[in-house]
Amino acid sequence: MAERKSRIVPIAVKINLIIVFSLLAGLGGLTYYLTQSLINSIDTDSRESMIQQAEILHTSIENFMMPGEAPLAVNFFKDLRSQQDNFHIALFRSDGHPAFSDKSTLMKVNETLGVNRFNADDGRMNSASKMPLDDVMGKIGSPPVPMFAAEQVEDRFFYQVYRPLLNLPKCTRCHGSDHTIRGVIDIRKDISLTRQKQIRVLWQSSLFFVSLLLILALILSRSIHRMIVLPVSLIGDVCREVTHGNFSNHVDLNRRDEIGELGDTVNSMVNGLHERYELSKYVSGSTLQSLKGSQKGEDINLTLFFSDIRGFTSYTETHKPEQVISVLNNVLQIQSEIIAKYEGDIDKFVGDEVMAVFSGHDSADRAVEASSSIVRYINSNSEMFDGLKVGIGINTGKVIMGKIGSDDRADFTVIGDHVNTAARLCSAAKKNQVILSDSSKRALVRNTAIKGPYSLRVKGKKEPLRVYLSLAGRK
């Protein structure tokens, strides 16, 4: 099953989301709190103000009524009611009838006093309709206390205060003592306009909040984009180029913060990678491979390749150093390229000598083919190499491969008798000769033009070696 590729969520989107949510939670909460506080404050003020007004009215009624000046109270109420359209004041008796709307109270007072002290003056007050008795008592509760209510009638809003008018001991002289509540002061204020203002404030706050949110989100997202997203993208671009082998790009942030440090670190890393990449040209593949894996020694079957420039010592004595180096590099360069082409691995250059190894089931074939190709190329391009020729020795066998050297300086190379034999064969090879050992000849898996066997006595071996010459280089 194909692995599903996870979709990238851009960091800019995540950061913007965090910013918007943070601002929504923070500024939104603050705006809501402040707006609610403002509205509550207005509501509380209105409520307290109305209760205070009810208390003032209550005191006024007391003061009018105590000396028996009911007409003054009537006129007082009339005046108040005519002053403001959105302010309604009414006084109800405990039976629900509007106070001063009939003669019943006066008659009761006269009866209680036992004298005809008050004369009914018809039409004093008022046009208010009777309030149901249950309503009067229900509004003020039990025990009766000032009550506040918020009511909505269609699209209008009202605050209402019901202030009980108690039958106080001083009232009982006229009104009798058989009842507790004389009536209810009803103050109603139309707060629709105030409510509209509150709603307007809410809308304005919301609009302000949304505008502020957008502006802050824009500023913050732009800042974060510039401070974080862009540098990260730039670092990503540089890293992407490195994966494609381009080490020329560097992160140029000129920043003195964590991202700047990251950029510097990436630059150092790119430089290090570049150095290692360049170094890999001068280090054998097996060495590089060993760095990835175990560095312990191991027995391994390889074909060993040694080449050497014939007559190079005398050449160095008769030519200028720069020419010597130039020609030597030409010889080593072409050998390197051809060995790499045949999947060989340069183990080391020692002066004009090249040591390489070939691994695999056809290692001997590829070593012989590479050798022949080298000989042919050098012969075909003689002027490039100033007439110098190489001799090559090839041997196949088990060698010891491992890290050899100190902790500070080491090679990952091969050692063993077969290595020495290959070197001896190389020393024995004349110009353009490719000498194979018997083990290499036996390791060949393809048809390769060789001739032999020959018997070759080499240093360090008691018995002469059975060797062959490759003919491929002569084609």
């Binding site: 025990p143 001991p169 001083k170 002289r173 003592s177 507790t180």
Partner: protein
């Protein structure tokens, strides 16, 4: 675990301990002095058409009469309890007749607490002070009850005193 038990034990004890509701009205209030030297067999606002008998505890008899800036002021000490029996009608109760309810004024930290105890449930309820106090303010000015307080002396919200009579 060894830390858990000492931590939980106090919580367990607290949760098992029932908080006793404060009782303002003593069970044996009828042993106290009867306060009304005028028989309260007439209706009054707040208590309507109910016969009433008031009692005052011993602490309440320590009423102080102070003269402050030339004005006489009565002051009941903290701990004063005045209990008023409220009967079902205005008729004088028969011997052994139980009242319908008790109302009480209790002086605490210089302020009156107003209580109603419905009978026979026996549950005491603290009243909204404003309602009771509004009427009882009348005690501090000339009023139609008892000796009527003609000199408008501050009577500490009590209409009938054991003294002066």
């Amino acid at each position: 675990m060894k830390y858990l038990i000492p931590l939980l034990l106090p919580l367990l004890l607290v949760s098992c301990t029932k908080t006793e509701e404060k009782k303002y009205i003593s069970e044996n209030y009828q042993d106290w002095e009867v306060l009304n030297w005028v028989e309260m067999d007439y209706p009054i606002p707040g208590h309507a058409n109910h016969y009433r008998i008031s009692y005052i505890n011993k602490k309440g008899l320590e009423l102080e009469i102070l003269t402050i800036e030339g004005e006489e002021r009565c002051l009941y000490p903290d701990g004063t309890v005045i209990v008023k029996e409220v009967f079902s009608t205005l008729d004088k109760p028969r011997a052994g007749e139980k009242p319908d309810a008790l109302t009480a004024m209790v002086k605490e930290e210089g302020e009156w607490v107003w209580i109603v105890k419905s009978l026979p449930e026996g549950k005491e309820q603290i009243m909204e002070a404003a309602f009771c106090q509004t009427c009882h303010e009348g005690a501090n000015e000339p009023h139609p009850y008892g000796e009527k307080n003609p000199d408008s002396i501050f009577r500490d919200y009590v209409f009938f005193h054991k003294t002066p009579q």
